[in-house]
Symmetry: C2
Subunit: 354 residues, 2 copies
DNA sequence: CTGAAAGCGCTTACAG
DNA sequence: CTGAAAGCGCTTACAG
């Protein structure tokens, strides 16, 4: 009896290619044909059970699902995506998710997208442009169906390429007249102006800056300085630190600032972290906040204002940004082709000094 | 002249299947064959330029790279992954990245993995087990080469399935004697004990709890209560809140707690957020912290201790967890088959009261 | 409501 | 150092 065939065909993986050269393949190497064979239908029908169940007869549906359950079959989306040109993947390019700022946005963005059947590929760009450019290749190699960007994309070549890909793009957390596609953000420049105005209204004589040198922080700086210049304050003391900003840098930046300009009576910090660090330094130096030194931060951390009532801060609604960005992408997938553009604004929060 | 052929063949997409039924396909629909044709090599050579450049002659390498650059070709990893059974994808299953706790871990994990050529698929599980189970299917459909889990996986069926897939798994942020595979974490139970001990050493008479009802917080609660019971304190007042914990819940939980047990002189809160919220409430109630009421939090936020020196807190090194988890996975990919298991411990931090 | 054929864009395993 | 053939596991576009 040569070439005896296997007897137990219940989980028979015949049909496996003759040379069987590829051993691996995730989740037991189960394929759609295995499910199809067991359920007595064609692979296409199994495919439809996952992707368009309404088009399958209830009984067939049930039978296939039983087999899927029994075998523990999980479709291979690498194959599915390749075949359908639909990866069901959204790329989110973010400088960092540590220390909050963007984490709330990514959180709700991810929740909203996954409810709609998409997953989020997280790409951390740090704060360098060159990095962002090479990151884009990595990201595009997964053929995402949409992209969330943090900030308005910097280099023209990146913007150009993103436009060429032809997938929806949402820029967030910043503002521009010429977005690549869609935008949910706010103006950092106007925030700087608003904080300057607040300081002026409070009668501050010598406002100063502590900022990290990233694009958005520098835009806030520009708005701040321009507004002060309008009021005749053309020389503004400042300490510029390397991103990412941290408690420690804020802490060391304040003494440095005051050393060069001892009469400073208000500081606009590039982030809540820097502000909290500066406040710690102020405490150590015996400075009363805000009476001797007003401190203003920036961010979306309830934390900051809760723990530090004497802090003024600019609050941004990171949650709304994330939800809106997701909605805009999903609308596109549903054929809505408007060019969504939203300024979510900001608010300057100042607690009553207790 | 019927069937005239196109003249300009410089970016000629001939070879495209006759029926051309699939229009889409990302990044201009450029395929490896387009690059190969332009460079005068076979597709396999182009593939090697990306995946194993050392095996290609320097001149060929250069020529292919020029064409890639010129055309703006980005390989399709859906196809590559399907063909090679290597997705270069790592799944990270995390309850949430908002409000920090895990965000630092994910940040450094993602950085480390991407430096090694892997991308991170972020899957947010919330705090429900059932969710985690269905999330696993979604995640496995991408055929990740490794999985990072937050916490020790709950249901046995999930553990079972994960083991069957045969890819490396790292559980983090918790401790168990029977991990699925590898583990980088610490014992929540022992943290509870340690905080109880600290309170006892300080002579607290009536320690209490404010915790969210997630598995890990409840483990801390158990350690806390057991240790107090050893000291003869068998009745411990507590308020249990629904996760995720927040400032607001902490704020409302404290009055509730004190209403039922006015003599409480120490509270162990399930997280820094809860603790900060509770501190806010204490302030409003005119309670001195820590002299009248000691408050202890939990987390990895510099923030908490910096802004709130009167807070005692349990600190965990989220960064180390992320880096170690990444290293363990990468070791596996490099053929190191040890079953890595690390207890990173924790520390109770108490600032000198100023 | 269901299926046979062809193809998605890569890489493997040889062979030279 | 380079390439021709075959296959990875799905889905599309028909047709019935």
């Amino acid at each position: 009896m040569p070439t005896a065939k296997p007897t137990d065909a219940s989980i028979d993986l015949e049909g496996r290619t003759a040379s069987a050269r590829r051993t691996r393949g995730g989740t037991k190497g189960l394929r759609i044909t295995d499910v199809a064979a067991q359920a007595g239908v064609s692979p296409i029908t199994v495919s439809r059970v996952f992707n368009n169940p309404a088009s399958v007869a209830p009984e067939t549906l049930e039978r296939v699902r039983q087999v899927v359950q029994k075998l523990g079959y999980v479709p291979n989306r690498l194959a599915g995506g390749l075949s359908s040109a639909r990866s069901r993947l959204i790329a989110a390019i973010v400088p960092t998710i540590a220390h909050s700022l963007f984490s709330e946005t990514i959180q709700v963005f991810s929740e909203t997208m996954s409810r709609a059947g998409y997953e989020v590929l997280l790409a951390l760009s740090g704060y360098s442009d060159t990095n962002e450019e090479s990151l884009l290749d990595t990201v595009l190699s997964r053929r995402p169906e949409g992209v969330l960007l943090t900030g308005v994309a910097h280099t023209e070549s990146l913007r150009e390429r993103l436009r060429n890909v032809g997938i929806p793009v949402v820029e967030t957390w910043d503002m521009t007249d010429t977005p690549i596609d869609m935008l949910v953000g706010f103006s950092h420049y106007r925030i700087g102006e608003a904080v300057a105005e607040r300081f002026l209204a409070r009668g501050m004589k010598r406002p100063a800056l502590i900022v990290a040198s990233d694009a958005r922080a520098l835009a806030r700086r520009a708005g701040f300085r321009d507004r002060l210049a309008q009021a005749g304050m053309t020389s503004v003391a400042e300490v510029i630190v390397a991103p990412p900003s941290s408690l420690a840098t804020g802490k060391s930046a304040l003494p440095q600032l005051l050393q060069g300009a001892p009469d400073v009576d208000a500081v606009f910090c590039g982030s809540d972290l820097l502000a909290i660090g500066a406040l710690g330094a102020a405490r150590q130096m015996g400075l009363q906040v805000p009476s001797q030194l007003a401190v203003c931060g920036f961010g979306d951390l309830d934390f900051a204002t809760e723990t530090t009532p004497q802090l003024t801060t600019v609050r941004v609604d990171g949650t709304r940004i994330g939800v809106s960005a997701a909605r805009f992408l999903l609308d596109r997938f549903n054929g809505v082709h408007e060019r969504a553009f939203v300024d979510v604004g900001f608010s300057v929060v100042e607690r009553e000094s207790a």
